[in-house]
């Protein structure tokens, strides 16, 4: 499966992730960082102290003031981009599937990051694919699982534009299943990161336990967080009416509902309330929040919405 069209890739090459905060990675990269080091970007002066490198002394200034000042330059470092990809059972719904859409978004963001020499980590959650836990008996299944585990491992850290193809292949190898714990996954992701950076969370956020603690942990760790909520068209506007017994795909919980066209408005109001609460939560913490139907054209989200929100430019 081609995740992204060549036309889209060509247009994405022009973008670079915009990080409001300075990169904190220890590895050298192309991002400005707070660290001072060797580059061509002048940053500041400071008084010479014993032992400083004479090569950075500003001799012109010494000529005028007869004092020794040292020129400081910004060190350019890489920007770690962590993409949290919801691979739970609920993401397999929708037409097109929410998970497919999420992988496409992940691929686009990853591509932009890789193009800018940034390190990309894709963290699918739940950690293990569902079928790996349930049945490992059959060879085909287990082979697929092995391949997926390998892909998951490879996706932990990808760097350099030359890794793009491999990155895409590994993304394609991912499958969705099982029940996700969004909060736990985000919190652990925040703790695991050695440096903060950009965190992109791709999920439907339909987790009974909520999303608040996970996102708070990410923000607290210093990440710049972007959320893309992906909902299926069926979730935005249900098409099944009558007396229903709904079964939750992840928890297996049942809910009896009598639903008709006359209650459509009320349902959509509920949905808007849900989204609005989330938007307000995000605004309060400086998180970029996007919501999209899995039916939305990818270009519309990537080239217009993310660009307008200055996720990249």
């Amino acid at each position: 499966m081609a995740l992204l069209t060549p036309e889209l890739l060509r247009r994405l090459e022009q973008f670079q992730l915009l990080a409001a905060r300075r990169a904190k990675s220890s590895a050298k990269g192309e991002r400005r960082s707070r660290a001072r080091g060797q580059s061509v970007e002048f940053a500041d002066y400071r008084t010479y102290v014993h032992g400083d490198d004479f090569r950075y002394l500003d001799w012109n200034l010494y000529g005028r003031l007869e004092r020794l000042f040292l020129k400081l330059y910004e060190e350019e470092r890489e920007l770690p981009v962590r993409i949290f990809l919801d691979a739970s059972e609920s993401m397999t719904f929708g037409e097109p599937r929410k998970f497919d859409f999420a992988r496409q978004v992940a691929a686009a963001i990853g591509y932009v990051a890789l193009s800018g020499f940034d390190r990309v980590s894709v963290i699918p959650f739940p950690n293990a694919p569902a079928n790996a836990e349930t049945d490992g008996g059959r060879s085909e299944e287990s082979a697929m699982t092995t391949r997926e585990l390998a892909a998951r491992g490879a996706l932990r850290s990808v760097r350099g534009k030359k890794s793009t193809m491999e990155f895409f292949q590994n993304l394609t190898a991912l499958t969705a299943g099982g029940a996700a714990n969004l909060n736990e996954s985000l919190r652990r992701g925040a703790l695991e990161a050695r440096q903060a950076g950009v965190a992109v969370v791709l999920s439907d956020f339909l987790d009974p336990a909520g999303y608040e603690t996970g996102l708070t942990a990410l923000v607290g760790r210093g990440f710049q967080v972007d959320l893309v909520q992906i909902l299926a068209p069926e979730e935005l506007s249900p098409t099944t009416f009558g007396d229903l017994r709904l079964v939750d795909s992840e928890t297996g919980g049942m809910q009896e509902v009598t639903f008709g066209r006359y209650r459509m408005k009320a349902y959509q109001q509920t949905l808007q309330n849900f989204i609005q609460r989330m938007r307000e939560f995000c605004q309060g913490r400086g998180i970029n929040f996007f919501t999209a139907s899995s039916k939305t054209p990818l270009e519309e989200l990537l080239l217009r919405q993310l660009r307008q929100a200055e996720v990249w430019g």
Binding site: E234, G242, R245, A266, T270
Partner: protein
């Protein structure tokens, strides 16, 4: 506790329907969804977010409001005020005569009239009163004045139709007395108008409202029936029947003659519209029996399609002639048919062995108890102030009386005569200017003919009228004839039978097969049975005697079932059939029914839109 409209409990039948609706289990479709989180929130928000919400356009709400409006309207019991003026008292006369059984209205005229009357009961206002009279052969007060609708409905339901002719006069008389001095009172007559003259009510300003029932006059009926000895052959009986066609087209029928339920003869017959066809059947009869004439034509009135008559075999008449010798009289008596004449010069007993006794100028020691032809005798028990007249001229005689049939008193001269004032029990047959010369009548159960003059002192025995009169007298005085006429009564009339000895009880088997026990007063000398409302053959068991008698309609006025558009009260006053609607027609039942319909629509809509 009483209910004004107990029929309303019929609506309780809707309760199980509602319960049934709730018993229906809603079948839920199981569906796998990504997450039920949104649905839980949706339910939480839509269920109890706030005590009030903005009013939305909701068809369920609108339907329920319409339903409530209907219910409230029904509870308010609205009604249409109609043209009829408010009446405080309505006297309802329900015609229950034979013609009301006509089936031109479904099911019958009587049921239609009853239904109409029931509607008027429904329209009765709370304070108004109603009286229900049933007018058949006699008038019955079915319900005295009341406002209680349940009682009025019960009374109307209890009314029954009989085969009897209409006797509207007593009913109207009673109704008139009820509405007299009442303002706003009305008499409502539910009838087909097949009633005799109501001349008595002319110029009485009777507040009569005539509700006509009936549409057609399709009826062929037997209006007369008689059975006699065949004059040409004494062994045979001649049965006379009149078949009248009251419809507007000629009708054909098969006329059947039955003797004790055995078919003797069938005759095809076509009667033109408005015509009457007299029919004579001749039949041999070996013993007493019941002749039935039956018409098989299909018409609207069944009661007159059959008539029965009891025919008793003629027996010789035993006559005792008490005379000092009157050859002319004796010869006249002997020439009458079937007479066994015994002559005597005086009477020693009451003469109970004889059918009747002729006293010719002899005053007996013991007056006979049976029927008597008394010539020139004085009995002060019969007559008061008997006096003599000489050569009384005969000025008038009643030729219509059966005794004077074919007997004329032209050229009859009387030399001298006894005369007396006409007593109440008798009629005068032959009159002189001063007083009657011949009287006839019934005193108690005794038939008496009194001739004031000695026939030998007149030229009457030399006239043709004399033997004819004697023959008529033999027929009239023969108790067997009287008895056979007693055995045919018109529907609704009482059947009477003289009792030879005291009885305490009797059994009557009605045409329907029901046997009724009748208690007889031991002191009574007459048995009376009044429950003769239906046409047919009745069998009476009285002591050891079995008697059969017949009840027939035999009334041309009743058989003429053409509904009359107006009733004539005498010559000048006419009452037209009303088109008046019943007053204050209540609407709440209709409205409540509409409410029920709305409820069902609401239920249907609720279930439809969830799908």
């Amino acid at each position: 506790m009483n209910f004004l409209a107990p029929a309303g409990f019929a609506f309780a039948a809707s309760i199980p329907v509602v319960i049934l609706f709730y018993l229906l289990k809603r079948k839920r479709v199981v569906k796998l969804v990504s997450s039920t989180l949104l649905w839980q929130q949706f339910l939480a928000e839509t269920q109890a977010s706030a005590p009030f919400q903005k009013l939305k356009k909701n068809w369920l709400l609108i339907l329920q409001i319409i339903l409530l409006i209907f219910v409230v309207l029904a509870l308010a019991r609205p009604f249409f005020a109609s043209k009829s003026k408010p009446a405080e008292l309505r006297v309802v006369i329900l015609d229950a005569s034979g013609s009301m059984q006509a089936t031109d209205e479904t099911p019958t005229r009587f049921e239609k009239a009853r239904a109409e009357a029931l509607k008027w009961v429904d329209g009765l206002k709370d304070n108004d009163q109603m009286v229900i009279l049933q007018a058949g052969a006699n008038t019955e007060v079915r319900q005295s004045a009341t406002s209680e609708k349940a009682a009025l409905r019960r009374a109307l339901q209890a009314c029954t139709c009989s085969d009897s002719p209409t006797r509207l006069v007593p009913a109207l008389r009673m109704a008139e007395s009820l509405v007299r001095d009442r303002r706003n009172a009305e008499i409502h007559l539910f009838s087909d108008g097949a009633v005799p003259e109501l001349k008595e009510f002319e110029n009485r300003a009777l507040p009569l409202v005539y509700h006509r029932v009936g549409k057609d006059s399709n009826n062929l009926g037997i209006t007369a029936l008689d059975a006699r000895a065949n004059p040409e052959n004494a062994r045979q009986r001649a049965i006379y029947a009149s078949v009248a066609n009251f419809s507007t087209n000629s009708k054909s029928t098969e006329l059947e003659l039955l003797l004790d339920d055995h078919l003797l003869e069938t005759r095809s017959l076509t009667v033109g519209p408005g015509e009457t066809s007299p029919q004579v059947f001749l039949a041999a009869q070996a013993r007493d029996g019941v002749f039935t004439v039956r018409s098989t034509a299909k018409d609207d009135l069944a009661a007159d399609n059959q008539a029965s008559i009891v025919s008793l075999l003629p027996k010789p008449v035993k006559v005792l002639l008490v005379s000092r010798g009157n050859r002319l009289l004796e010869k006249a008596l002997r020439s009458a048919a079937d007479v066994e004449l015994t002559t005597a010069t005086d009477m020693a007993d009451a003469g109970t062995a004889f059918d009747f006794i002729v006293l010719d100028d002899v005053a007996p020691a013991i007056w006979p108890k049976g029927n008597v032809l008394a010539i020139h005798v004085v009995n002060t028990n019969w007559l008061e102030s008997v006096s003599h007249v000489d050569a009384p001229p005969i000025v008038d005689w009643k030729s219509a009386h059966p005794l004077l049939r074919y007997a004329s008193f032209d050229n009859v001269q009387v030399m001298q005569s006894l005369t007396a004032k006409t007593p109440t029990w008798a009629v005068s047959l032959v009159d002189a200017p001063q007083a009657p010369l011949i009287l006839a009548g019934e005193l108690g159960r005794q038939r008496i003919i009194w001739i004031g003059f000695d026939t030998l002192e007149s030229n009457w025995p030399l006239r043709v009228s004399f033997p004819i009169f004697i023959a008529n007298a033999v027929e009239w005085l023969n108790p067997a004839n009287a008895k056979s006429s007693q055995l045919l009564v018109k529907a609704g009339d009482a059947f009477r039978l003289a009792l030879a000895r005291p009885e305490t009880g009797a059994q009557v088997t009605l045409p329907s097969g029901v046997t009724k026990n009748v208690v007889v007063d031991p002191a009574a000398n007459e048995f009376v049975f009044g429950d003769t409302y239906n046409q047919g053959v009745y069998r009476l068991k009285l002591g050891t005697n079995d008697t059969v008698f017949c009840v027939d309609l035999l009334d041309a006025a009743e058989s003429n079932i053409k509904p009359r558009d107006e009733l004539s009260l005498g010559q000048y006053t006419k009452v037209s059939a009303t088109t008046m609607q019943r007053s204050n027609m209540e609407l709440w039942r209709t409205i409540a029914s509409l409410g029920l319909v709305v409820l069902l629509i609401e239920w249907w809509y609720y279930h439809r839109r969830t799908v």
